[in-house]
């Protein structure tokens, strides 16, 4: 069943950042693929395309006593409806409003079994306006969460800023979410393969998420990081940013210790954890184990066999508010086999 799950890309970004520009490109470009696009308002989408679906955001709180267990009821119905169409889709794109919390969208693809059987979350793509992001981060909790949530971030409208301003924007993004793949764009001009159907590619990036990576081993662009990052400190140099990340690395883990620990951590700190992602090596297990989560929801599965000569390391990244790196690291290290 896993092979037939349709990849879902969630598009976030503050008002005016360029989401509609990107959507219009995806809908008009001759890429030979069939994407269904779920929007909040037809608004400025320039074309009449039968694969565009307008949908009112319907956030359902699940009746299970967990305040952060929310799903998008409208999305559940849209996915069910799309599955009835003949021929299937190469992907589904979900646009969120500028002020939306991305969590319910992402959680829908973990929590609703009917949706999970048909579709899987591929990537959360945030579009950031290079000119205004720094100000948005200062005055908007949502803008910060959108950056924190993203797997891929388009720093758009780069033609409107100086190289110094651009460097600052990217530094601020890295402070919140060091693992995200950043692309610089003008008018969202980017090969769509960098945004859609990313598969496991973006997850694999966390393997490279360490201090060396932060010091400029990213081949995507060439900005400098001149301040010294400790891979799990809290970036105290930005007082107005409250979201940060903790990246952990260790050797092979003991699954009997790891699973109870991650359950406990997500139960205890779930509301503050925006996302977690990990590629794990378990003792005596020939396969890589991939884990990801949103708030209190976590899911994991074997991904593929470890390759010959591949270093069997376990990496786990948390992105969230008020994360206690010491507690997380000590707990993680106690799981080492």
């Amino acid at each position: 069943m896993a092979e037939t799950q349709i990849p879902v890309t969630v598009l976030t970004g503050y008002l005016g950042s360029g989401k509609t520009t990107l959507l219009n490109r995806i809908l008009t470009e001759n890429h030979g693929k069939k994407y269904a696009v779920v929007v909040n308002e037809f608004g400025e989408i320039g074309i009449d395309n039968e694969l565009i679906v307008e949908s009112d955001e319907e956030v359902f709180e699940m009746n299970n006593g967990c305040v952060c267990c929310t799903v998008r009821g409208d999305l559940i119905r849209v996915v069910e409806g799309l599955m009835k169409r003949p021929g299937g889709f190469d992907g589904i794109l979900v646009e969120t409003t500028g002020l939306a919390d991305p969590a319910p969208v992402a959680q829908t693809f973990f929590m609703d079994d009917d949706v999970r059987a048909k579709a899987k979350l591929d990537a959360v793509v945030a579009i950031a306006d290079a000119k205004h992001l720094v100000q948005r981060l200062a005055d908007s909790r949502e803008a910060e969460e959108q950056i924190g949530f993203a797997d891929v971030i388009l720093v758009n409208k780069t033609d409107l800023v100086t190289s110094e301003e651009l460097a600052e924007v990217e530094e601020r993004i890295r402070a919140i979410n060091p693992g995200a793949l950043i692309h610089r764009t003008e008018r969202c001009a980017i090969p769509l393969s960098n945004v859609l159907d990313r598969g496991a590619f973006d997850l694999d990036r966390i393997l490279t998420l360490d201090p060396a990576f932060l010091d400029g081993h990213d081949h995507d662009h060439d900005h400098d990081h001149d301040h010294d990052h400790d891979h799990d400190h809290h970036h105290p140099d930005h007082h107005d940013t409250t979201i940060g990340s903790v990246a952990l690395a260790a050797g092979a883990l003991e699954p009997q210790r790891f699973f109870p620990w991650i359950q406990e951590i997500t139960q205890q700190f779930g509301p503050d954890i925006l996302r977690l992602k990990g590629i794990l090596a378990f003792k005596d297990d020939p396969e890589r184990y991939v884990v990801q989560g949103v708030h209190m929801i976590i899911e994991g599965d074997h991904q593929r066999a470890w390759k010959e000569g591949e270093e069997r390391t376990s990496r786990l990244v948390f992105i969230g508010r008020k994360l206690d790196a010491g507690v997380l690291r000590a707990g993680f290290e106690a799981c080492v086999a």
Partner: protein, 326 residues
């Protein structure tokens, strides 16, 4: 095995129903197919996918589509549009008395009466399910946080039945005493309408999306577990404090149920495409259709209970004739 006439439609079977003696299938490719001798004839009804369908009390097929249209198709294949909401998805429909139909898109439910009058019912949250009461022009709208009961023909104030959580489908018992909803949290909720008393029916591993009342409304059969789950409603207090009957247990999820119109027999459709008929009295099982071609997505008996129509998500469909054994 009883004899089966197979129809390889190749498109998602959204609903099956009988229009008089004619088996009708509403498909995801926008067509309605009508069994006609050895073949099935095709009526092009919607330009996109059919999202919801049900037989009306007058023997027509009511459909809603992602082309924003609501249509009626008769047993001869003649189709006409009765309402349009451009660019909206009509993914819920319900048929009421005297030709009344209801449909919904987003936060609005609509009722269209046989004389052409139309009414709009606005809600704060999206409509999750529609059901007409067995008697009178009373419409139940399932939604987040409960159900709103409207009198579709008058301006009377609606009644709200509240229960926390998302309600995604609704059905009245045939005697009109109970209203049951399907919940996002893999459970059923119910109200005894006389006094508003709540009932919870939980423990399902999946959403019990398909509901069907047995002959005379004695049991409510439901999907959502690896057996058909039947709650007893013939006791004075309904299912309260009672255990449900489980029938047709397999290691596979039940995706559709349809009770026989006259006898205490339930047709059970599974995620692997198998269909069984199970007798309530002794749990005796009879295979109606082998597994294959995706989950069973539609099941319907004709009025006499001699024919059973089925369809699957992958576009297989057929007509089982219980009288003709092969």
């Amino acid at each position: 095995m009883p004899s089966i006439q197979e129809f390889p439609f190749g498109a998602y079977v959204v609903e099956a129903a009988f229009l008089g003696e004619t088996a009708a299938f509403a498909l995801g490719d926008g067509t309605v197919r009508l069994a006609d001798g050895a073949e099935a004839k095709s009526a092009a009804v919607h330009s996109g996918a059919i999202l919801a369908a049900t037989a009306t009390r007058e023997g027509k097929l009511l459909t809603g589509g992602d082309d924003g249209r609501v249509a009626l198709t008769d047993a001869g294949g003649a189709a006409y549009t009765i309402a349009e909401r451009p660019r909206k998805w009509i993914d819920l429909v319900a048929a009421g008395p005297n030709g009344a139909v209801a449909f919904a898109s987003g936060r609005q439910a609509f009722v269209k009466l046989a004389d052409g009058r139309e009414r709009t019912f606005d809600h704060e949250r999206a409509v999750g399910g529609l059901a007409f009461a067995p008697k009178g022009l009373r419409l139940a709208v399932a939604r987040y946080g409960g159900v709103t009961l409207w009198w579709a023909g008058t301006e009377a104030k609606p009644v709200s039945l509240d229960w926390q959580g998302a309600h995604i489908a609704a059905t009245f018992s045939p005697d009109g005493r109970y209203l049951i909803t399907v919940m996002q949290e893999n459970a059923l909720h119910g109200w005894r309408l006389a006094d508003g008393k709540d009932m919870q029916m939980s423990g399902y591993p999946a959403k019990p999306r398909s509901l069907s009342w047995s002959a005379k409304g004695r049991f409510l059969a439901s999907s959502g577990a690896n057996a058909a789950i039947l709650w007893p409603f013939h006791f004075k207090d309904g299912p309260m404090g009672r255990q449900p009957t489980q029938l047709g247990a397999r290691e596979v999820l039940v995706t559709r149920v349809a009770c026989h119109p006259r006898e205490d027999v339930v047709a059970v459709g599974y995620q692997d495409g198998m269909v069984m008929a199970v007798r309530l009295a002794d749990a005796e099982e009879a295979v109606m259709r082998r597994s294959g071609d995706g989950a069973v997505s539609a099941l319907a008996w004709d009025d006499g209970g001699r024919h059973l129509a089925f369809g699957t998500e992958e576009g297989a469909a057929g007509l089982v004739d219980l009288a003709a054994r092969s």
